[in-house]
Amino acid sequence: MTDTQVIAGTLIVRPQGELDVHTAAAFRTDTENALAETGARRLIVSLKNIAFMDSSGLGALLGRYRRMIELGGRLYLVSIPARVRPVLELSGILKIIPVFESEKRALERI
């Protein structure tokens, strides 16, 4: 399940629970639909409520990152829980995607 919201032209998506091969498809579809509906070019993905992520989840995040580049926009990650940080670090994804500690912080800075 992915909760979405638009604040000042920035789309915020908040996937919930586990982001793996089974749930990644819904995250992708929900995010694509919200992007199409809102026309937003700034996308914040909040990982606050993510309990688990593996390389399939990372692939879904990276796919959204590439999609935003294609659209001429940007993707930001916020609120990374300690339990999923090791996987993000291992993948190297944090070297290419900007990270903020919270949605509020990201909205102030982007």
């Binding site: 793996d20 091969v21 089974h22 688990f52 692939g59 990276l62 339990r83 090791p86 291992l90």
Partner: protein
């Protein structure tokens, strides 16, 4: 030697459906909780199981098929085996490389993650017969990482048979 005859083992066999990946990693994590793993180590174990089962679910079969997860504890380690009876991997060393994937849109990090997050991994595969991925996760990996040259506390638990051979292929 690896204690394959350990009386304390779990076996779970599921159809190759993506919704079963979660069940497999949670079952192995619950089983491994009998050893005193840290929360972070259990998370690493869950990711490793998830990667191995996802590989089997996505790549082993063209149609329906079964995936078997076996886990057992020995000494300070939990051993996990994920087996399928699918198409097999033609070039295992290549499949183990980072970013190798046969599916567009996938990251090709599955084996890299398992290797990084566990103490030892081996992949045994035969074309048209299937693939078995085995790995072990031992207590205190972080401490050992700080003193890699020190005593390996887990030696009594043994190593994966043919692991070195598997890597060299």
């Amino acid at each position: 030697m690896m204690d394959r005859e350990s009386p304390n083992r779990m076996l779970l066999e599921v159809p190759n459906l993506t919704q079963n990946v979660s069940l497999c990693r949670v079952a192995v994590a619950a089983f491994a909780a009998q050893l005193e793993f840290t929360v972070a180590e259990i998370e690493e174990l869950k990711v490793a199981v998830s990667e191995a089962v996802t590989n089997a679910v996505l790549h082993a079969y063209d149609g329906p098929g079964q995936v078997r997860v076996t886990a057992w504890c020995s000494g300070r380690c939990v051993f996990v085996e994920v087996q399928d009876w699918g198409r097999g991997i033609e070039d295992v060393p290549r499949a183990r490389e980072a970013s190798f994937t046969t599916m567009p849109g996938r990251m090709g990090l599955g084996f890299v993650f398992i290797e990084s997050l566990t103490d030892e991994m081996e992949v045994v595969s035969e074309v048209e017969r299937g693939t078995t991925v085995r790995f072990k996760k031992c207590l205190g990996q972080e401490q050992r990482g700080d003193a890699a040259a020190g005593d390996r506390e887990s030696e009594d638990a043994g190593s994966l048979p043919e692991a070195k051979e598997g890597r060299g292929k």
